[in-house]
């Protein structure tokens, strides 16, 4: 018998958990589609809000910053950042809710709890893909640059960002289910995250800052994620360091968040 602290034990538990998740993939798929349908039924615009929310946010910043700093009017730069950011910030705010809204399900039936944040993420992924279509519909008339073969990078960065988002949603759920206060903090964390990411200010602005502030800002995982997306979506030049940092961040946040969540889920029902 292996001890309950050996790495082999954890590896096996993780493996069992993942195969149970895979066995229940129909459930994940159905839950995501069910949420979309429920959303469509309860709000007039339904799924359109997935695109409209980040779009409105983008327009607000476009007008504010376009008027205050009229030199920085690069709508493709702004919107690509906003849409990518919104995908992850949704994960942070939706992770805990996916658990709390399904408390009845959790109390009654045993199943891998990670299904709930994953189904939420699946739903958000549809919204994100739709927003990418809208993105091109807006930026092409503005004469923005288009990617060539770089577009293929999307096949790498999108799955990795989804992993990152699942980790983020799982970690938030792990913390916010027992400590509901955290739910109140999330909008502010998201706001800070938005302002410290290269979205509403141009990258060139970084150079005005000290070395230390620059490297501190670059610790933000959104930095390399957005950089790779801008290469994939707009053909911006890509720095290898960004690519490596993006992969590292996504894998680490994904695995750590999921592990935190699985370790905790046996006690989750006590907090509902």
């Amino acid at each position: 018998m292996t001890t309950t602290t050996s790495p082999a034990y954890y590896a096996r538990r993780f493996n069992d958990y993942m195969s149970e998740l895979w066995r229940r993939r129909d459930f994940v798929w159905f839950l995501a589609r069910g949420n979309i349908k429920a959303r469509n039924a309860s709000t007039f615009l339904g799924l359109v809000w997935w695109v409209l929310n980040p779009l409105l946010l983008g327009l607000v910043y476009f007008f504010i910053f376009g008027i205050i700093f009229p030199t920085e009017r690069d709508i493709a730069y702004l919107l690509s950042g906003i849409f990518v950011f919104h995908f992850s910030s949704q994960a942070m705010s939706g992770g805990a809710n996916s658990i709390l809204q399904n408390s009845k399900l959790l109390v009654n039936i045993r199943f891998p709890r990670l299904i709930l944040p994953i189904a939420f993420l699946l739903e958000a992924t549809f919204g994100f893909l739709a927003s990418l279509v809208v993105f091109y519909l807006i930026v092409i008339p503005f004469g923005s640059p288009l990617p060539g073969v770089e577009f293929l990078l999307l096949g790498l960065v999108l799955p990795l960002q989804i992993l990152f988002n699942i980790g983020l949603a799982a970690a938030t759920a792990r913390l916010a289910v027992p400590f509901r206060d955290i739910n109140n903090l999330i909008p502010y964390l998201n706001r800070i995250w938005l302002y410290t990411s290269p979205i509403i200010w141009p990258l060139a602005r970084l150079e005005a800052l000290s070395e230390t502030s620059q490297s501190l800002l670059r610790l933000n995982p959104m930095f390399p994620i957005i950089a790779v997306y801008r290469t994939a979506l707009l053909g911006y030049p890509l720095e290898q360091a960004d690519l490596v940092a993006m992969v590292a961040w996504c894998v680490v946040v994904g695995v750590v968040g999921i592990a935190m969540f699985i370790k905790y889920e046996g006690r989750m029902v006590r907090y509902l």
């Binding site: 229940r24 129909d26 459930f27 159905f30 839950l31 069910g34 349908k37 429920a38 039924a41 309860s42 399904n102 009845k104 399900l105 959790l106 109390v107 009654n108 039936i109 045993r110 199943f111 027992p178 400590f179 509901r180 206060d181 955290i182 046996g266 006690r267 029902v269 006590r270 907090y271």
Partner: protein
């Protein structure tokens, strides 16, 4: 004799109400300062077995730990101490509406309920027509469940639960709902499950009905198992005790 369907061994569950019930940062900081917090023992060293083919009832007053015990058996709540062994496929109807999403139609909720219980889509497809027929909902099956009455809700929940081919059924206060006709039908279905050597664990405040339906029963009082045995005997003891407590309260001028 074959192995029991459910074996509950010395199970204890403790809640720290100060921390566990909606703990906030402030509260957990407060309990960090005063390490000693009041523990509420929801279950204290409970042990019993449920055999195959047996209907087992659990009685007790509000807060006795009945629902906590069912959650432990359903394995949604991990006990602090003790062990529970369950042999067989389990179907649970613990809180009405189980995995249902009220915004969706009854039809889509059949899929939701089946999938959450571990079936895949194809397996639900195969059972779909039988479930609709059993629930007797007719065209209402296409309406969102938020338009359902509580009786319709529970009919669908019961229909789904019984079509998961359970070997073990956990029921918490579900038989009280539904009209007479459906109640009879659900009883017949459960007797059929028992005759196939399935097991049923049944929690209800309708103790007369429980005594009639169950072979054996257990009486939980403030987390402790005070009696276990023939369901008629246990229910008689329980009712006598409840009557006595009520008289005492009246004597003290409270009741």
């Amino acid at each position: 004799m074959s192995l029991p369907a459910i074996k509950v061994e010395n199970v204890s569950v403790r809640f720290r109400p100060f921390v566990d019930r909606r703990p906030t940062l402030r509260r957990s900081l407060a309990t960090f300062r005063h390490k000693e917090t009041q523990l509420v023992e929801a279950l204290k060293g409970v042990s019993f077995e449920v055999q195959k083919g047996e209907a087992f009832g659990i009685v007790g007053q509000n807060g006795a730990g009945k629902s906590t015990l069912l959650r432990c058996i359903a394995r949604t709540l991990r006990p602090d101490e003790g062990r529970i062994v369950v042999r067989g496929r389990m179907s649970t109807l613990l809180q009405l509406g189980v995995g249902f999403n009220a915004e969706l139609s009854g039809s889509r909720n059949i899929y939701l309920g089946g999938l959450v219980a571990g079936l895949n889509k194809k397996q639900v497809d195969e059972r779909y027509d039988d479930i609709v027929a059993y629930s007797e909902l007719g065209d209402a099956i296409y309406r969102p469940m938020k338009t359902y009455s509580s009786g319709m809700f529970s009919r669908l929940a019961f229909a789904v639960a019984m079509h998961l081919d359970p070997e073990i059924l956990l029921l918490d206060e579900v038989l009280a709902v539904g009209d007479e006709g459906f109640k009879e039908k659900s009883m017949a279905t459960m007797h059929e499950l028992l005759s196939r050597s399935g097991s049923i664990v049944f929690v209800s405040h309708a103790v007369r009905q429980l005594a009639e339906f169950c072979d054996r029963a257990a009486w939980l009082d403030r987390g402790e198992l005070v009696a276990i045995g023939d369901s008629e005997d246990v229910v008689d003891q329980y009712r006598a005790e409840v009557r006595k407590r009520r008289q005492e309260m009246r004597a003290q001028g409270i009741g």
